[in-house]
């Protein structure tokens, strides 16, 4: 560049500078959008998991998933939720029926994890009863100690926003976790069938 500066052509120097700026800028944008494929945080989260399955952090949840030995479709919720979680509840009911109907309860299960510190076992039981959860197929659990809860939510990429009054907003989705405790794929709440098909496929694989 200095050589260009000393030469008499600011236009050439500007062209070189522009080229440099363009390369840097496009590289930054390429990296920011994972190769011009995503702009939203949620899309990026799903794409990354799709390409690189993630082992969940050590803790009771991971231990439970491994001990159970089934592929799990995991969602996060809180029992007081009156908006998205109730529709999530009904799609979970449908998933539950579909699993039972296919006789796949030994391969795939549903796991609802509450991120609300106020959810104790009584609240969870009440919620499970209200949702007609079949305990063979659909388990509910509260997340343990705050630090472990945070680690797990971070690993899953779940962002929980407090929303008044006493509510939360969070990126709800179906998370398919395999038998070894790896988060393999994330599906929209509208894609319950696809999530189940994928989970069954995983369960059938050796």
């Amino acid at each position: 560049m200095r050589i260009l500066a000393n030469s008499s052509s600011p236009i050439a120097a500007t062209a070189v500078a522009l080229l440099l700026v363009a390369v840097l800028g496009v590289t930054a944008l390429y990296q920011a959008t994972l190769g011009f494929r995503v702009v939203a945080t949620e899309e990026a989260r799903r794409l990354k998991i799709r390409e690189q399955p993630l082992l969940l952090p050590a803790g009771p949840v991971l231990a439970g998933l491994r001990a159970d030995g089934r592929v799990a479709i995991v969602t996060f919720f809180y029992s007081r939720c009156i908006t998205v979680c109730s529709s999530l509840g009904s799609s979970y009911q449908q998933l539950q029926s579909a699993i039972v109907a296919r006789g796949a309860a030994r391969q795939v299960r549903l796991l609802s994890l509450s991120f609300d510190g106020r959810d104790d076992s009584a609240a969870l039981s009440a919620y499970a009863a209200h949702q007609h959860a079949d305990s063979d197929v659909w388990q509910l659990a509260a997340l343990p100690a705050p630090q472990q809860r945070r680690d797990l939510l971070d690993a899953f990429g779940i962002v929980v926003l407090p929303a008044p009054p006493g509510e939360f907003q969070h990126n709800a989705a179906f998370h398919v976790v395999d038998r070894t405790g790896h988060l393999r794929r994330i599906f929209d709440l509208e894609q319950a069938d696809a999530a189940l098909a994928y989970a069954l496929n995983l369960a059938a694989a050796p």
């Binding site: 560049m1 260009l4 500066a5 600011p10 236009i11 120097a13 500007t14 070189v16 500078a17 522009l18 700026v21 363009a22 840097l24 800028g25 930054a28 944008l29 920011a32 959008t33 995503v38 702009v39 939203a40 945080t41 949620e42 899309e43 990026a44 989260r45 990429g157 962002v159 926003l161 929303a163 907003q169 990126n171």
Partner: protein, 189 residues
Amino acid sequence: MMAAALLLAALGLRPWLEASMATHMLLQLPAIAVAGWLLGKRVGTRLAWCDVQGLSSLAIVMLVSAYWMVPRVLEASVGGALMETAKFASVLLAGMLLQIGLARANRIVQIFFLGNWCAMTAIAGMLYQEQPRQLCNVYTVADQVIAGIGLVSLACAAALAWCVQHHRVLLDIEPDYYSSAAAGPKNSK
């Protein structure tokens, strides 16, 4: 000093400004950019040799603007120290280079640049409003709609501000030296 005050406000009020996408994009980022603009007036113009018509400066402004309009990147700056630092540094630089670049550019280059910047910003703003899904997990859909409306408004305001500043030429009160051989260029080179 105004620039320092703006920068301090953008930094000190971070928790409040970054709590909403709209205030993040439409108060904090512009405050940093304006601080940069004010600094740009005092900084020497040593790099003019590779910045004919402010092209390099303005290109950097475009790319920095585009970068922080990617929702994922914006979100990463919330609570991420590295990205937060990168945001402050790059937007401050962009504000500085906007001042320097515009001072070096003739009106044709200014219109080219401003037109593209406004179009980009307005389109991003419209996309924000039309997205049914959350773009950032830390910001609500309602919030991103407000941010979107704000970006479109900002684009319109920037275009309008340029027109007001150059109204003497636009209204033919002053001869335009690009369309005739009237007056010679008066802006700094």
